[in-house]
């Protein structure tokens, strides 16, 4: 079941019997804004710390344990040009439990309390302990980012790619300077804005009755809070044309055992006669798995890296490559990476490699449907940007129509646009 229940509020119920748990997820979306990214991450943490009825972290965790280990998760992420503040609860399907317990209603109520009944100090402020604890935790997490070298290299590359988009310059988990200045009152003000104005997508996956869930949902505190003007979800795509003309490069040095390399390439938007899956197949041949050129040539044959791989981001048409290398062999590795790109551009790959790529695409699609999160993400995309999805018939059609010319075309239209090096010395 999929229906609009208020202006820019969509409810999706996906009754699937094979899972042992049920998951309810509520996504609040609005356009990314550099001034709100840190606020929204801290808000996620403060709201999941405690609620009006469970006014300490301990009390809330006790409640989750009582409900057979329900997992509450509140976080933010980038979704296209939106900041997605997602609240979810996943819980044991009651039919697998030893004791009878009304899991669906109790967990929906708990999630509702987290979203709509925050732990307040006074009108206009969150509970001071919750705010201070979560601000301190986030500050500590942000300080630790510099200790995760893979993340440092991804952030370094992202910063180069989005140098002309200030809203993308703040990482999704926030920024120390903004966090330092953020007050309890400002955060609460933002919370009120979120609750009133964000677009909302509600998803339920698991063995639930659609009609029964809708009834429970429309009688819950969610129904009392969904009216409002709420943001339209207008999609904007980032442009990287300037970087094609003048690629961005940055090198930083740290005292590390291993150096990291992060590269980005832009592929062109494909013509209608080219299979929509061709960029993904090209990526698989280049560096998408353990049969790829990068894995076999850079790692296996030349022992230059333990980790080297590429990935393709279909929304912005980017191919990125990441590798962990010895600083002394970094030039040799880049040369070898370039040779693998030329290998694909120059149509040197075998028919077996094409067949393998097709097989992997098909397998990944089918296997992904063995997870609850797959259904939730598919439903969110369906709501936000349905053009990005292929149904089963379309997918098979695109897979069957793909040939080597399509893959070569994608590779030949690929331009290097950014390179970030984190050199260990």
């Amino acid at each position: 079941m999929r229906k609009s229940i208020a202006n820019n509020v969509v409810l999706n119920v996906n009754p699937i019997k094979k899972f042992r748990t049920i998951k309810i997820q509520i996504d609040f979306l609005r356009p990314l804004s550099k001034d709100e990214t840190t606020k929204r991450r801290l808000l996620a943490n403060v709201l999941s710390n405690s609620t009006k009825h469970y006014p300490t972290f301990k009390a809330l965790n006790d409640r989750e344990m009582e409900l057979y280990g329900s997992e509450i998760n509140v976080y933010t992420r980038n979704l296209l040009n939106f900041n997605d503040l997602a609240f979810s609860v996943e819980f044991a399907d009651p039919k697998f439990l030893l004791h009878d317990i009304n899991q669906l209603e109790e967990n929906l109520k708990l999630l509702g309390e987290i979203v709509f009944q925050p732990n307040l100090q006074s009108q206009g402020e969150f509970d001071n302990t919750a705010f201070d604890t979560e601000k301190r935790n986030l500050m500590s997490n942000l300080a630790s980012v510099g200790d995760n070298q893979d993340l440092v290299s991804i952030l370094g590359l992202t910063s180069l790619l989005y140098q002309n988009n200030p809203d993308r310059q703040i990482p999704i988990f926030g920024n120390i300077d903004q966090l330092d200045k953020l007050t309890n009152k400002e955060l609460y003000k933002h919370y009120i804005d979120v609750i009133k104005n964000d677009a909302i997508i509600v998803n339920v996956v698991g063995d639930v009755d659609e009609g029964e869930f809708e009834k429970i949902f429309m009688n819950s505190m969610f129904a009392d809070n969904i009216d409002g003007s709420r943001h339209d979800l207008k999609i904007h795509f980032d442009k990287f044309d300037e970087l094609v003309e003048s690629p961005a490069k940055k090198e930083e040095h740290k005292h590390l055992n291993q150096s990291r390399l992060a590269l980005a390439y832009l592929t062109k938007k494909i013509d209608q006669d080219v299979s929509r899956l061709a960029p993904q197949a090209m990526n698989l041949i280049l560096g998408g798995d353990d049969q790829s050129q990068l894995f076999l040539q850079v790692r296996e044959k030349n022992s230059l890296a333990y980790s080297v791989s590429s990935s393709y981001q279909p929304i912005n048409h980017l191919v990125t490559i990441q590798a962990g290398l010895d600083a002394k062999t970094i030039e040799q590795a880049i040369d070898l990476i370039n040779k693998q790109i030329d290998f694909v551009k120059n149509d040197k790959f075998s028919d077996d490699q094409i067949e393998h790529a097709k097989k992997v695409l098909d397998t990944r699609r089918e296997i992904s449907s063995d997870s609850i999160q797959h259904y939730i993400m598919r439903s969110i995309w369906e709501t936000v940007y349905s053009k990005s999805l292929l149904n089963d018939e379309q997918f098979k059609g695109e897979l069957n129509k793909m040939d080597r010319k399509h893959i070569v075309t994608v590779a030949q239209d690929m331009s290097a646009i950014a390179q970030y090096r984190l050199i260990g010395d």
Binding site: T21, F57, N61, L67, G69, L98, N141, S144, D147
Partner: protein, 408 residues
């Protein structure tokens, strides 16, 4: 409970265990072969550190092909991992499960170590070691294990060191492989829609190698626990670990039960729903990276509590004072005990959504003579008094130590 998982199993005459779990509605078939052999099995240091992990990497190499190519040919993705006490090889596929099973058996049954392929693998593994050396959490775990079990193989990186890799060669790889990849030291779990008889037939007709005479394993004697230590790294945030060594002389199935009991004790004392967690958080001693890990594997049983902190001394002092039997007695009532049990049962159900979690847990529990499908009964059988008794016996302050990693 409705729709319980079903299992079909058989032990072959040579001791090899096969377990199959159908998972209705799932598209994939997940296969896993595990051997009861991991990084600690170096015959008390006679073998170079990292040899189990090296075997894991190099078993993929066969004459003229790599096994991952064969998996790919049959549409499967494959992987492998080495832990302190186990090595596992796995595949995940949509179709051709029987062909992929044959590839998995070829992978674990037919070693092909040559001087050339061993030499080329050293460079790859050395890069893996360097990668982990840049991860402060990983370094901290090794250091605290070095305090809990001084000079023991468990305190070495699972992958070894750049130096120990130089002592690994085709001969000690093959010898170590033969000693440990014995059918009676291995098991196989398949999760998904397959015919058990076919699986049994394929495995029964596969190429198990002749079992060599077992070399006697030198008796393992642990040195006394270290007094603690610290070091500096180029990091922005300090990390601390507090370790407790449990000298548990119990049977293998009891070890699994003990692990659940110790988890319940730690959850009560320092879990997210404990007073201590709240107090440490309010005192700014910990942040939300704070966690604990209970390990009960073969001869090793220990607890590591760790997290980021700006106050390592307060972190250690607090835990030393509050991780005690007396405190547990005060805070653990029947109601809290029931909550913790419910939480453990919930975790078991969550894991059943995932074929890989089922396969990995089932394969490992086999070596402890515990049936994965009876875990709920095992959890349910733990009494309030059991937990108090375990805490009184094991959670004492004469078996603990610490390690801190400080920013330079």
């Amino acid at each position: 409970m409705a729709d319980k998982l079903q299992k079909y199993s058989k032990k072959l005459p040579n001791g090899y265990e096969i377990e199959v779990v159908p998972l209705p509605g799932y598209n994939q078939v997940y296969g896993l072969a595990m051997t009861d052999f991991g990084s600690v099995n170096t015959r008390n240091g006679e073998l170079p550190a990292g040899i189990a992990h090296f075997i894991e990497h190099k078993l993929f190499a066969k004459p003229g092909y790599d096994v991952s190519e064969k998996f790919a040919e049959y549409g499967a993705n494959s992987n492998a991992y080495t832990s302190y006490t186990k090595t596992a090889y796995l595949f995940q596929t949509l179709d051709k499960p029987y062909e992929n099973l044959k590839v998995l058996l070829d992978l674990v049954q037919n070693p092909h170590f040559t001087e050339e392929n061993v030499a080329s693998e050293r460079g790859i593994i050395d890069q893996e070691i360097q990668m982990y050396l840049d991860m402060p959490e990983w370094v901290l775990e090794q250091r605290i294990l070095g305090q809990l079990y001084p000079n023991d193989p468990i305190s070495q990186d699972i992958a070894g060191t750049s130096e120990s890799l130089q002592h690994i060669n085709k001969d000690n790889l093959l010898d170590t492989y033969r000693q440990n990849y014995r059918p009676d030291n291995m098991d196989l779990v398949i999760v998904g829609d397959v015919d058990f008889k076919k699986i049994e037939n394929i495995v029964g007709n596969s190429n198990f190698h002749e079992v060599p005479e077992l070399k006697p394993i030198p008796k393992q004697v642990f040195e006394p626990i270290g007094t603690g230590g610290h070091e500096s790294m180029e990091i922005t945030q300090g990390r601390s670990a507090y370790g407790i060594r449990i000298n548990a002389d119990v049977s293998l199935p009891e070890l699994v039960k003990l692990q659940f009991e110790l988890n319940m004790i730690m959850e009560t004392l320092i879990g997210e729903a404990s007073d201590n967690y709240e107090k440490m958080s309010n005192l700014n001693i910990i942040d939300d990276s704070f966690s604990y890990n209970v390990v009960a594997e073969n001869n090793y049983c220990f607890i590591i509590v760790s997290g980021s902190t700006n106050y390592p001394e307060k972190f250690q002092e607090y835990l030393k004072k509050h991780l005690s039997f007396n405190e547990l007695k005060d805070v653990l009532d029947e109601k809290r005990f029931e909550r913790i049990k419910r939480d453990a049962i919930g975790s078991y159900l969550f894991a059943q959504n995932s074929p890989d979690a089922i396969a990995n847990q089932m394969a490992e529990l086999y070596f402890y003579n515990v049936d994965y499908l009876r875990l709920v009964s095992l959890i349910d059988s733990i009494s309030y008094d059991d937990v108090l008794r375990v805490a009184e016996q094991f959670v004492t302050d004469d078996n603990c130590t610490y390690y801190n990693i400080l920013p330079k």
